[in-house]
């Protein structure tokens, strides 16, 4: 039986009611991975045995009349930057090629508690640095809509796994757009929750003040289901917000756009966005307006400086976060032949273990934090961050949600921007502000360009008002009526 186009919500229901078994469902998706992943390379690890064992346990529990979790028997893929006990967690890097965590990330543990079947670990740009998944040490992931093109990044593997129906759900992480941009390019839904809304414990940090874990799914309601499972307070993450998960599932199921004020960010609609992207974005706004939304224009003057501030804050934090990869306790070790000092071994290991983009950002950050430059770079960037947060506060005075195109372009050919980091960085021009301010944001598919490549629209909402994304997203999804089937 084929389950590939069945939603996660329906799969969970079907398994709970005994319409089909967790093993059947899991086997079907594992088969799909086996058929397609040779070309797509979305997975770095497929845990066939573990997935089937979990599925069998779910089926046994159901047979015994035990209560099942909300994701019981539903396959989920996990970005390889999230710790999974007993499964290698490489972060897309040679540095951690053989690293097997002894603990689960909080989100991984919550997946297991909810009965989810973890099918494997997905490919990504090394340590989540990139917008194309070409920076993976284990080869790029390919876009299922056109396998000569990139899937976006850094969570490209997780986006493709869902787009190609290798799994109904997956987890990604988003530091500056790493969930939303690949979601847009692969024609799926991707959400970056409010900063602090989902635990970061076990997420191998890129930039601690920006990173957030979030769901990929083919529908807004499926994304809400996964969001509600992974969200909520975690005492092991001091930046986690001590509050209930926003009512995202209810919002997705009872979407009503009437009277919702949708703010179009003046700074994120004009030049730099491909005409097809702008055209589809305008059509989506028209549809929302026709359905009763109020479209208003909002001014966020400091968004202009978001990219610059981001590329000071992120490298600064990342230069410190990645210092732990030194060969002493775990991971790669190079040059330890008894003749070299520990400093030499550290240096050789980091030289061999990190790719060029990682080294570039470590150097940028080390420089930005250095004595005499701190105020001009890191300090100034933090001020910009405050101003961007104020822009959001002002904008949410006039609008309930904000809307922008998610990415300036559709998926570009593999290799096109590899040697042009600045052009690559511009991919995140519309997604970075939400990370800097900690507000939640979602990308929803709104159609295809003239070449058939998907385009996404980004909604943003005030902190801890994630349900507004799901309300607007589900309404738009219904209005557009576009189904993602590459």
């Amino acid at each position: 039986m084929s389950f590939h186009y069945t939603s996660a919500v329906d799969l969970a229901d079907g398994i709970a009611t005994g319409e089909y078994s967790a093993r059947e469902v899991t086997t079907a998706f594992l088969d799909r991975i086996a058929e397609t992943d040779g070309e797509l390379n979305a997975f770095l690890l497929v845990d066939t045995a573990g997935a089937l064992a979990t599925a069998d346990a779910i089926d046994a529990a159901r047979a015994d009349g035990e209560a099942l979790g909300p994701l019981a028997g539903v396959p989920v893929a996990v970005k390889d930057v999230l710790a999974t006990r007993g499964l290698t967690t490489t972060c897309g890097s040679r540095m951690l090629e053989d690293w097997v965590p002894t603990y689960d990330a909080t989100v991984t543990a919550r997946l297991r508690e909810a009965g989810a079947v973890i099918v494997g670990k997905t490919n990504m740009d090394e340590f989540a640095m990139g917008s194309s998944t070409e920076n993976s040490a284990f080869g790029p992931t390919r876009n299922p809509w056109d396998t000569q093109r990139i899937p976006g990044g850094s969570s490209g593997g997780s986006a493709v796994a869902v787009a190609a129906r290798q799994t109904p759900l997956s987890l990604g992480t988003d530091t500056g757009g790493s969930i939303r941009q690949p979601a847009a390019m692969c024609g799926v839904v991707g959400v970056k929750p409010t900063y602090g809304g989902v635990s970061r414990y076990g997420l191998v940090a890129l930039a601690s003040s920006l990173d957030q874990v979030g769901p990929f799914a083919t529908t807004v309601t499926d994304a809400a289901l996964l969001h509600s499972v992974i969200g909520g307070h975690d005492p092991r993450d001091s930046t986690s917000i001590d509050a209930a998960v926003p009512p995202v599932l209810r919002a997705a199921r009872h979407a009503d756009i009437r009277g919702v004020r949708v703010g179009v960010v003046k700074q994120l609609t004009g030049d730099g966005f491909q005409p097809a992207v702008r055209g589809l974005f305008q059509q989506a706004l028209d549809a929302l307006a026709a359905a009763g939304a109020e479209i208003v224009e909002v001014d966020c003057p400091h968004f202009e400086y978001a990219l610059a501030a981001y590329y000071l804050i992120l490298p600064s934090e990342c230069s410190s976060n990645l210092a732990k990869f030194d060969s002493v306790r775990y991971g790669l070790r190079v040059g330890d032949d008894g003749s070299r000092s520990v400093e030499q071994v550290m240096s050789m290991t980091r030289e061999a273990g990190f790719g060029p983009e990682v080294k570039r950002r470590i150097m940028l950050g080390t420089y930005a934090l250095s004595s005499g430059y701190y105020d001009a770079y890191y300090g100034q960037a933090q001020k910009v961050r405050t101003l961007i947060a104020r822009d959001f506060a002002d904008a949410f005075h006039d609008a309930d949600v904000l809307a922008t195109p998610t990415a300036p372009t559709t998926a570009f050919p593999l290799g096109e921007k590899v040697d042009d980091p600045l052009s690559m960085y511009l991919q995140d021009i519309a997604t970075i502000p939400a990370n800097l301010a900690g507000v939640p944001a979602m990308s929803v598919p709104i159609g295809q360009d003239e070449s058939g490549l998907p385009v996404g629209l980004q909604f943003m909402a005030p902190a801890m008002k994630d349900e507004r994304l799901y309300n607007a997203g589900a309404a738009l999804e219904a209005l557009i009526g576009w189904e993602s089937r590459p």
């Binding site: 999230l82 710790a83 967690t89 972060c91 951690l96 690293w99 965590p101 002894t102 603990y103 990330a105 970061r200 414990y201 076990g202 997420l203 191998v204 940090a205 930039a207 601690s208 003040s209 005492p235 092991r236 993450d237 001091s238 930046t239 600064s316 934090e317 230069s319 410190s320 210092a323 732990k324 030194d326 002493v328 306790r329 775990y330 008894g338 520990v342 400093e343 550290m346 080390t366 934090l369 250095s370 004595s371 701190y374 890191y378």
Partner: protein, 499 residues
């Protein structure tokens, strides 16, 4: 160096020393600063570790609230202001015993600022200004194997023990300590001593310098006179006792004076104190200040200590040691010299408790500083761990005051208690220590003594009353010490018809 050694007196006559003391205090919290691992000393290497204190990928720190409370209490006891809002920062540098290659510390937003501590040296009070007290995590320990010295040079390989990594530390930093002149080393020692006593009174740390739970880095520089700008300083580490604080600074002052007098310049560097040779040697040169690239720790929320909490902690602070001493000295009527002996013997609390149990201050002091101090010195066992407590001493003293024992018997009771024979009353019972107070029994012994020493008796009768001492001795001997010597003397004089 080819230059004749300069005497300390000459050094401080020619130069004015400026001190700066950085004291690291390991808190005695049950768990580490940012995780739930135990903090007990001496565990098997790497047995008290978890993903957080090992800096494993994805792990995150969570602040230990008890450590924050201890930090605030320390700040309050040192007369600091407690910041309503303080932050942790990352201090970035690579070192194998530092699991994350950054230390979570506090930088420009410490929890305690602007305090002071008054210390006394030879009757003069010196106010030591405290710049800050901040929280941080300790590092692991590197063990260098295969070499002769245990140092990294010449070692075949190194092992790292992370049990200590993440233990909460408070770093207390003074402002430059000036105008102490020749007394500088003594002032430094008095400061560290006073700090240790305060921390002990707060019960926030074991404060054992030899185990490293209290560590002092001693900075010193010399300048030609008190008006001149500060000279280049050195920082001396490995100062593991109060005595070493004084000695190491004395040595550094002599050494720097000698270098400067010979026309040399002082190199800004870390130096190591060697107890055995009583010298410091050069360590890491700090000519180029290391760039720690501090920035606010993004994994932790700021520490916001509410005014209510701070005031609650302030009201529950114990009496400061200096104040306690002044109060007790007055209550007990001890001279300064006597009080100093009490402090040096570490007997203040013991005497206070003994007095609280009913003993006179003089009686309590007599036992703790006399008989018991002697036994402590002979055995090397600290007074408090000798095996007799204030309750026991108070009981012995009360038996003597009641006339049931004399001093000599009191010492026998101590023998018994220390030998594990039980409480003072049990020892008295088992050993049959009864002061002979029955005149009938004593008169027999008195008469016998007079009969056996008729020449002495005659001398007394003829007016040489002082000679009675020999007869008292004879009676005491005959009663094996269990008689009240005063009563024996009275009876002798009575029987001899004197007075």
């Amino acid at each position: 160096m080819g230059v004749p050694a300069m005497s300390y007196e000459q050094a401080v006559a020619d130069f004015d020393p400026v001190l700066g003391l950085e004291v690291h205090v390991e808190l005695n919290t049950e768990t580490k600063m940012f995780c739930g691992c135990p903090t007990t000393f001496g565990g098997q290497p790497n047995s008290q570790v978890c993903p957080v204190c090992l800096g494993m990928p994805g792990s995150l720190p969570v602040v230990n609230a008890v450590a924050v409370e201890s930090a605030i209490r320390i700040g309050l006891a040192l007369n600091c202001s407690i910041a309503p809002w303080s932050r942790f920062a990352r201090k970035n540098y690579f070192y194998p015993d530092m699991p994350k290659n950054y230390q979570i510390s506090q930088y420009d937003e410490p929890i305690c600022v602007d305090g002071y501590l008054d210390v006394e040296v030879d009757g003069q009070t010196y106010r030591i200004d405290i710049e800050r007290a901040h929280m941080e995590e300790d590092t692991g320990k590197s063990l260098h194997m295969g070499g002769a010295t245990g140092r990294i040079h010449g070692a075949d390989y190194s092992l790292v023990d992370y049990n200590r990594a993440g233990i909460p530390l408070i770093e207390i930093v003074t402002k430059p300590i000036t105008d102490t002149g020749a007394k500088a080393p003594e002032v430094a020692r008095a400061y560290v001593t006073a700090l240790r006593d305060i921390l002990r009174g707060l019960n926030v740390s074991d404060v054992r310098m030899e185990q490293g739970s209290l560590r002092c880095d001693a900075n010193v520089s010399l300048r030609p006179d008190r008006e001149a700008p500060f000279g280049t300083r050195t920082e001396t580490k490995n100062v593991n006792s109060l005595r070493s604080v004084e000695r190491a600074l004395r040595f550094e002052i002599e050494r720097q004076a000698q270098v400067l007098r010979a026309g040399g310049t002082i190199v800004q560097e870390t130096r190591h104190w060697h107890e055995d040779t009583a010298k410091t040697t050069a360590g890491r040169t700090k000519e180029e200040a290391e760039d720690y690239r501090y920035f606010p720790e993004p994994d932790l929320a700021p520490v916001a200590a509410s005014e209510e909490w701070v005031e609650q902690l302030r009201s529950s602070l114990p009496e400061p040691p200096a104040q306690q001493r002044a109060r007790l000295q007055q209550a007990w009527g001890f001279t300064d010299l006597e009080m100093r002996d009490v402090i040096n013997a570490d007997a203040l609390d013991l005497i206070e408790q003994t007095v609280a149990l009913g003993a006179s201050s003089a009686g309590a002091k007599k036992w703790w500083l006399g008989e018991l101090a002697r036994r402590s010195n002979d055995s090397g066992v600290p007074l408090a761990q000798l095996g007799i407590d204030p309750k026991g001493v108070a009981r012995i003293e009360s038996l003597i005051a009641e006339g049931a024992l004399n001093d000599k018997m009191g010492r026998q009771v101590i023998d018994g208690v220390l030998a594990g024979e039980g409480s003072p009353d049990e020892v008295v019972a088992v050993r049959g220590l009864v002061l002979v107070s029955d005149d009938g029994a004593l008169i027999v012994a008195v008469d016998a003594a007079i009969a056996q020493n008729s020449d002495v008796a005659d001398k007394v009768r003829s007016g040489k009353v002082a000679a009675v001492g020999a007869l008292v001795g004879a009676v005491m001997k005959a009663t094996r010490g269990q008689a009240d010597a005063g009563r024996v003397r009275e009876l002798l004089l009575e029987r001899l018809g004197v007075q």
